[in-house]
Structure formats: C-alpha cells, structure tokens
Subunit: 451 residues, 2 copies
C-alpha cells in the first residue's frame, strides 16, 4: 500500500524499464489466465496417476508422467536424476476401536514410517496435551499404555502454518518420547484445522536407540469421541491393528528440465515442488499444485517468447514427504557440478490464492525483493517477508543462493493436508493459475535483475 | 511490507498506545477465532431461513430472525426501521429449449425484475458479444428475435469484481437496449467465473418508455451449448417460458441495533450488510456473510468489555439486491435525525479470506486509514485502497462520512454469486471469522482515533 514515491521524472531509463516489466508481467498473467495448462495438468496428475508415495509403483508412474509432460513442451533439456528413496507401505486398512460398553470404531491411519502392530495391540489409553504432561505422568503412568496426544491446532494463529508448527513435534517425535516411558503405541489427534472424520497422516521419526512403537493418527472427530469416552471411563482400552512396514530403499528419480540461458547459461534459477505425495487422497494441493506451478512457469516463459539470460530449471523433487532424499541429491549434484544457483523457488504450501513470497537469504536479497513490491502489489502479492523457503530447496543453502517460498493463502490448507480430502476437486482453477503467474513473474524479475 | 520506521524512542506515548492497540486487536481476534458465533449464526440464517428475496415471506422471517438474534445479545437498543420494498416473484421454474434437430433444454432463470413471457415465446435467437454488435445488427437484424448476450467474464482480471463490472451492463440494461431494436426477449450468458450448469440471476432494469421484454440468464454451460448449436444452425429458434411478475410494494424493515457511545453518543460508526438475498441458493456469501460479520463485530466489542466512545450501530439492510430501498431509507432517517456518522463499514463481497478495505472518502481519511497499516499487516490485511464502499452505505455519502468496504479475496465469489450454489457449505469457518475480526478491528481503531 505504502508506495515509495520515486522521483520518476529524474530516471527516464528506470521508467522505461518499469514499463517493460509492467508489460511483460501482464503478458505472463494473460498467458496463464487465458491459455494456462496447469489446471488440466493437475487434473491429469491427480486422476491419471493419483497418490504417489515414494518407492511405490505410483511414484514411478509419476516420474514417467513428469518426464513425458516436460518432453512434450520441447524444453532445451529434460532428464532424470537418480536417487535412492525409502519405501514404506501402509498395508491393509488400519483398525482402531474403543472398547467401552459398546465397541466404537475410530477413523485411523498409520503415520508414515511407523512399524505395524504385529497382530493386535490392546492396552489402556492415556491422554496428554503436551510433552510436559507426558513427562509428569512418568514411567508409572505410561508403561504398557497407548499414549493419546490430544493437542489441537491452535485456532488463534492467523496463519495456519504456525498452528501446524506447534503440533508437528507430537507427530514427529511423540512416538519415541512415549516409548522412552514404556508406552506400547501412540495415537495422535490429526493435525487438522477442522473437525471431520478424515485422519491426516504424515511422517514420524524413531529416535535412535529407543524402542520403536506403532504410531497412528485419528480424525479430529474420533479424537473428540475418545476425549468424551475417557471422561466417563478413565481407564478405557483401545485395540489397534496396523500392518504397515518399511522395505529396503528403492531407486527413484528427480525429474528435471531446463531452458538454457542465453547470456550466462552457467547461472541457474530453479523452481520446483515435490512429485511424491502421501498415499491418501491425490496429493492435489500437497504438492501437485507445486509441480504444475513449476512446469507452468517454464511453459509460460517459452510460450511468450521470453529468452532468459540465465538457465531456468524446473525440478520435480522426489521424496519430500518422508526423507527429502531427492532434495539432498539435487543439492549434492549441483555442488559437485559447480553450478551457480542464483535463486531457488519452491511451491509447497498449496494451490490457493497467492499472497506473496518468503525469502531465506541475505538482507540485501530481501531488500532486492522489496524493490519489486509496487509491481507485485498490482497483482495482489503484498506479503513479502523474510522466512523459510522450503524443504526441497533448503539443502541448497550456502549464503549466496536466495531460497524463496511461494506463499498462498493458508486458511484451507490444513483442512485437507495429508488426508483423503486432498483431491483435485479442492483446487480452484483461477487460484492455481494466479499462483503459477506469481511464480513466473518472480523468475522473470530475478532473471532480469538478479537478486 | 514496507514498514515505516517510526522513531519510536522519541514517542513513548505513541509506543504505549501502539501496545494497547496491539493487545486489543489480539483480544478481538482471539475472541472471534475461539468463541466466535458468526459461523453458527450463518448456518442458522441459511438453513432456518434460507433464500429471502425482498417482499417474500422468507424475507419477513429473516427480519424476525435478525431482531431475535440482536435481542439475544442484549445490546443497548434494537429496533426495526420500516421501509417499502418491491415484491418480485419468480413463479414456476422457467423453461428454455433450443429447437434444433432434437430439443435441448437450457439451464435458465429469469433475471430479477423481468416480466413473464405470458405463455411461451418462440423466436429466432441472435447472439451478440457487445452492445456495439447489437447496434450494428440494427432493427433489421434484431426485430422479432431473442437476443443472446454472450459476453463472458474476462478472466484476465486479477480481481473478479472488475470482470463482473465489465459484464454487468448486459444484465442490467441489455433487455431495454435489445427492446429498442424490436427484440422480443433476451437471454444472457450468466455472470459467472466458472463453467457449470447453474444460471446466475440478478437485477435488471427497464428503461422508461421502452417496451418491456422478458429477460433471462442461462448457465455458462448452456451458453456454450447455444454457441455450438448456432454454429451449425445460425437461424435456430428458442422457446422461452417464464411466469415471473412484479406485485405491489410491501412493507419490510431494516433491522438495527446499537451499543450507545460512552463519550459522544451522537456520533455513529455503523457496520452492515444486507439481509435480503436472491431467491436461489441460501444467500450465504451474498450477503449472509456480511450480516453475521456485522453482528459479530458488535457481539465481540461487548464480549471483550470494550466501551466505545461513539455509538456503534449494526444495520441489517433490506432490499440491496433489487432496489436498495433499505439503504435509502436509512440514509434519509439519519439525515432527518441529524445523526453524525463518522464512518460506515459494509461487508458485501463474500465471506472469503480477508485482504483489506477500500475507502470512499477524503484524501485525509485515506491517509488516516494507512496509519494503521503496520498493525493491519500483522493480520494479513495489506490491501488498503481508495475505492467504492458499498451499495448500502453509498446513500450516506456527504463529504464527511468515511464509507468503507470490507475486501475479502474475490477469486471464488462469482463462481456462486446469485446462483443455487451460494449455500452455507461454500463458506469456510476460519475465513468467515477472520473477516469478522478484521471489521471489528477497524471499528475499534476508528472509535478510538476517528478517521
């Protein structure tokens, strides 16, 4: 809003350059809003490939899908970058019941990486709202029991990612914390912003040297039900059955394409999202949106005839969800090849209406981003902050490369994140396209001016 | 983003005041995000009352609903303000068919205010994309025909209200323009941002002295079908049957409540939306959201114990959709009573994620709004512009009262606006609540500092 009033008349060159930028950005938006292919590409990824957990046959199908799509656009180069990824399998549909006066089935799913129950576990359940409460119970209160982490997402946060951040530790390290006190399993209130019957999965990690125990999430409705039942029967038992398992790592790929730079081809600007998804839903917002945003950016630059000075590369990262092996491999190779990455842009916060960008870089890079704020504000991109770029570009951090995360509106994201609700139908065409146009605009500006 | 770096240390009073504001705004958001009642109030308005076109029994039910709800909150005053409103009735479900090789039914609804067809109209249809094309056809090309206004919403606009503005004239004055050339009826491509089977109604107005002809809207899918059929059969006929009619005006009410100011009770800050809706859907975003936003603002100020200096009034306006009689009546009465309105805030652009406010006032008032931008940005309210306030507050314009429109994200609004899709289920709880909190915050700031 608070536009800097530049003494425009003193800078005819600047004015001409601003006009050129203004026209080019308009061209980018027009191309995507009228001829954009990202929405139909997302439909194809969601419906023709579907859920695509790392190491699964569907993830390999996604690799072929990405390679074929990128080839169809005739970019200067398309290739696969080999990477070994974990292979975790959910197995049969999990079952969890409250054994009260009657038997009540809960909506449940195993957390990614969890071991199975090797038959059925039946044990008393004890609810805690924090690690402090868990500690206070001690071994005496926890041993032999199923720990129920019942911390809801804090609705007071304006940006839901902050609420997610507050609950995330219960999912990722809750199982090992409970196991240290002798728990036999954990169930987690799903990390969801709404109350419904869909459990949300997500990665958990066992701490080295601590016994591995099965870890599951239950839907927010089931969590409410369990709380209600515990009020009348504090020593309630749960029965839990899951036969998920981790198999040996398998070979997979990052899928990469680029338009070679016309002036400094050894300087790179990359844009990417992750090709893998959880096995529930269709990975539409997480992160089909980021995949099609990134491909659309490259497609659009080519479609409008823009010849980038630097090489612009799209990277469809494999295995963000449970290992980030693709991200590590990409950064390793970039370093080994001495590739100078000017900037890396990641889209992995959904396909919702754009708000802006967060940059993880130097103060100077942030100031350079702010120089474009007048132009970006015309497209309702007002949120320009210093902050995290993204999981897949994080390994590129070297004090020089600007790591930039695309920031869409966050209100609806955690309603469906990692659940069966994350399907194509939840993505809005204009919102998705505006996201792609925002990202393409930023690539254009960085290519032209550096950052 | 570009925060003004105030020399804070020089202004201890300012700092203390900023801290107080910061705490108060946090309190407003916490109250609404945790204890907010607007979402459940909207559910009740949509499900217990439903669609509520001016002059209908349902609109009268909505008046009682509003009065009872406001009374339940024990505000200082609650009353009804009588106003005569138009009464238009859709009658039986409209029918429109293409008479081609086979008969194809189109998704159709009469436009609000249209006369009926008095039986069935059967005539050749002629498509135009603009008034210029209509003019070029002349009487020779139009006489005795049904004119099909086929202008789609322009997807290139970033804010969909601009696309709506571009097509609106075809709905409002298209029928009379066609009638001037002897057309017997008009059908309009629905003013919608998506392609689906739902026709979107809305008000049209007959020009004085021009023959009145029936006017309808067809769904975007039906419009595409009609275009397709016209390609192969340019002299296609349509059959159209509607028995809508306008009855004599009836008595209705604006519903008003207030918290009396503790220092200057004769100065007013009002907040409102419109209680009437179209007869399709449930009037959830248009404008159930504005109604519950406004009530929530008053509820919240009371709930957190804030004692306003000025009188804060909520106005549930009647008849925004087809006459704005409630708006005119309110402004007349305010003038007759010599009430000094400091500011009027309207919410009538949906219940989506908040972006900011547009202000129709003096330059100084706009500058005063911008002074709060640092605080508002913390709540992701970055869009602060000079622009239209709203239809219901427009008659208050007097060069002194600041007219302010709440601006939520616009991407999804015209997907459902004035159609059967505008139902409670399309409203997102957190987005709705954040809207209410944004508006309450602005009321607090204006009450404290003036504008």
């Amino acid at each position: 809003m608070k536009k800097l009033l530049l003494p425009l008349l003193l800078f005819p060159l600047l004015v001409s350059s601003q006009k050129e930028d203004s026209l080019m950005v308009r061209k980018i938006y027009d191309e995507i809003l009228i001829n954009g292919e990202c929405y139909e590409n997302l439909r194809s990824l969601c419906k023709d490939v579907g859920a695509r957990l790392s190491g699964s046959p569907e993830a390999e199908k996604a690799v072929k899908w990405g390679e074929a799509l990128l080839n169809s656009y005739n970019f200067d180069k398309v290739w696969l970058q080999e990477v070994m990824v974990p292979k975790w399998k959910r197995g049969e549909k999990e079952v969890c019941t409250i054994n009260s006066i009657s038997v009540i089935a809960l909506d449940i799913c195993a957390l990614g990486g969890s071991i199975g129950t090797n038959g059925t576990i039946k044990a008393e359940v004890i609810a805690v709202n924090s690690f402090e409460e868990l500690e206070a119970l001690g071994e005496q209160g926890v041993k032999g029991k199923i720990v129920f982490f019942n911390t809801p997402m804090d609705q007071k946060h304006i940006r839901t990612f902050n609420a997610y951040g507050g609950c995330y530790p219960y999912r990722s390290k809750g199982p090992s914390e409970a196991a240290k006190l002798g728990a036999v399993a954990t169930v987690l209130r799903s990390l969801s912003t709404i109350t419904d019957e869909h459990p949300h999965t997500g990665v958990m990690r066992y701490e080295e040297g601590i016994p591995k125990i099965p870890a599951a999430a239950i839907s927010t409705k089931s969590a409410d039900e369990l709380v209600k039942q515990l009020k009348t029967s504090p020593s309630l038992t749960l029965e839990l059955s899951m036969n998920c398992e981790t198999l040996p790592d398998v070979k997979s790929y990052n899928v990469i394409a680029e338009i070679t730079g016309s002036e400094t081809p050894d300087n790179y600007i990359i844009v990417g999202g992750h090709l893998d998804s959880w096995d529930l839903g269709e990975g539409a917002h997480d992160d089909g949106a980021g995949i099609v945003h990134s491909i659309e950016a490259l497609r659009t630059l080519k479609a409008i005839g823009y010849k980038p000075k630097n090489t612009i590369r799209v990277v469809l990262f494999m295995n963000e969800e449970n290992g980030a092996k693709g991200a590590k491999k990409y950064a390793e190779q970039a370093k080994a090849n001495n590739e100078n990455h000017i900037a890396a842009i990641e889209s992995d916060r959904g396909g919702f209406t754009p708000r802006g960008f967060s940059i993880d870089g130097t103060k100077e890079q942030y100031q350079n981003l702010l120089k474009w704020s007048d132009l970006l504000e015309d497209y309702d991109l007002e949120y320009l902050v210093e902050g995290f770029g993204g999981v897949d570009i994080a390994p590129l951090k070297n004090g020089k490369t600007a790591l930039i995360g695309f920031v869409p509106d966050s209100q609806r994201y955690f309603d469906l994140h990692h659940s069966t609700n994350d399907v194509f139908e939840m993505v809005h065409e204009r919102e998705l396209k505006l996201g792609a146009a925002s990202i393409t605009t930023l690539i254009y500006l960085i290519d032209k001016y550096g950052i």
